[in-house]
Homo-oligomer: 322 residues x 2
């Protein structure tokens, strides 16, 4: 398989991306290749500096770069030879099996939707974060974490379906329990959006819905999938990251909170589009880049996109269970 | 002044409320009285058991009790001699200067709105939480934390105005900076609600608006007032509490996180109604009850409700600054 990586994507690129790609080499299969997309000279020089044979990678020369503050659609149009634009084009054409970037996330998202396109039946894509559990070494899933800030109830329902499939295939959880992130556990709690999403989730044969849960339950093993809109999910994720960083800054070490570190999974796929597009954190380290590459490998091996395609193809009026 | 307290309100009542009232005695003025609302026998017995002279309090015999799981309006109607119904009636009639309850919060809120009533001009009441700051011993304010889960932009604006006044008069912050709790700091960020609320806050002469901030800024001294709707604010508060409790459970002590303890302020006033109605946490301890009583004293001394009344009376088209 071929895993594409945007070499210039991220605040610490290309150091972080080159180091991350090198670190991933030993964990990908013999027949797998990491395709480095970026300026060839720079890539060859960076690899040589690290004493790594460039032959261990494929290099796709892309001399342009979409900066962090550029307008997504405009940048994609004007810089077709950037890592992001080229990588997504190659992914859509089947020349790559996955593509990962820690660069301009708006551009990656816009490119994923316009070039790779949503799967038939999927209303809006979503992204997810892993949340460590207090009493086990597993992770639960929080989604959406920012892709769709205003999500209609039908979209919230789809997040539940998508999260359930991801939880099973990427995190290996059997029959994942899906809940609505809410401010109370009783039926009927929450804002209008939650109240309208609840019955849709409850009646859906594709999810094992366990009702409303609260932030306090996020770490408690009460559900494998927490559904929120992209605004609430992002607020929650940013607060988890805030606590993680405050604890670090204050020199407090604790195994549970260490696992709040996004580097463990490296970033999120844009779920619901027609191929594995991986979105890294802007501050991605080499470890995060390594792990996002390994996550894309796992997604490819598990044929996650094909599973999603199949479910959503028969989604309207579908009676099968995921 | 007379500060009413619902003796049967809270998971640990009446022990917590009686102990809290006793603890507050030394900090209220010589001419101030705490009015204990509840079954007189029980109150006298509890005070006697603790060796405290009942003469130090006023007792208002209210034999009924609204339980935690009762429907608010129905319970208020059917139990006029509960601490909550009677206390709010007495407050509305001017027989009390404030009323506090850690009981059924839906009933306290419904009673506050129907008996005490919103101030003219106030669209929806709100509640607030104190958030400790990393680099000082001050607190910023987060509001709303649950009273109004779905807040229109005009309501979000009013939360900013109300929070600004509370921050100044209760927390002693001069010219408090008000921000919108958002998922990014750039103008135009966020969900539709934030996008629509931003220009209203920006143009309002009653608030010192500093734009969008993120969860990471909550503890950083970047603003004194964080505006969110009641759903997002409650989610944030519950996550802070979750971290606080997880740290406690794991034996991690840290001065900053200790100050995330709600007991420090004890609870929130229902801001925007015509008299100080204080809403305690269901799990209120004696310390929380003491501090909510002292907070109500501070509100009365600062004439917070009168200030709010005056601002909102001239609010439509008003040009004064708060």
């Amino acid at each position: 398989m071929k895993f594409g990586l945007d070499v210039l994507g991220g605040d610490f690129a290309p150091g972080s991306t080159i180091d991350g790609a090198i670190a991933a080499l030993d964990s990908i299969g013999k027949d797998d290749r990491i395709v480095l997309l970026g300026p060839e000279d720079l890539i060859r020089k960076s690899l040589a500096e690290r004493g790594v044979d460039a032959e261990r990678f494929e290099i796709s020369h892309q001399p342009e770069c979409i900066e962090m503050d550029e307008k997504p659609m405009k940048a994609l149009m004007e810089k077709p030879r950037s890592g992001i634009a080229a990588g997504l084009r190659m992914l859509a054409a089947g020349e790559l099996d996955s593509f990962a970037s820690a660069g301009n996330s708006g551009a990656v998202l816009a490119g994923a939707v316009t070039l790779v396109k949503c799967l038939p039946g999927v209303l809006r894509p979503c992204t997810c974060a892993w949340v460590p559990q207090e009493d086990s070494d597993t992770f639960s899933l929080l989604l959406d974490i920012g892709t769709t800030p205003d999500a209609k109830p039908e979209v919230m329902l789809q997040f539940g379906v998508i999260g359930s499939i991801y939880s099973r295939h990427v995190l290996g959880r059997e029959n994942p329990r899906v809940c609505l992130m809410n401010v109370g556990t009783e039926d009927g709690k929450g804002n209008l959006q939650c109240q309208a999403s609840f019955p849709l989730l409850k009646e859906c044969p594709h999810v094992n819905f366990v009702g409303n849960l609260e932030p306090r339950d996020l770490f408690k093993g009460k559900a494998e999938v927490f559904v929120a809109d992209g605004f609430v999910g992002n607020i929650l994720l940013k607060e988890i990251e805030t606590f993680y960083r405050m604890l670090q800054k204050r020199g407090i070490k604790d195994p549970l909170f260490e696992r709040c570190n996004y580097e463990i999974y490296g970033g999120s796929p844009i779920l619901g589009v027609g191929a594995p597009v991986m979105l890294g954190h802007g501050i991605s380290s080499a470890l995060a880049i390594k792990n996002i590459l390994l996550q894309s490998k796992r997604m490819c091996e598990q044929h996650l996109v094909d599973v999603l395609r199949e479910v959503f193809a028969s989604y309207v009026g579908g009676t099968g269970t995921v």
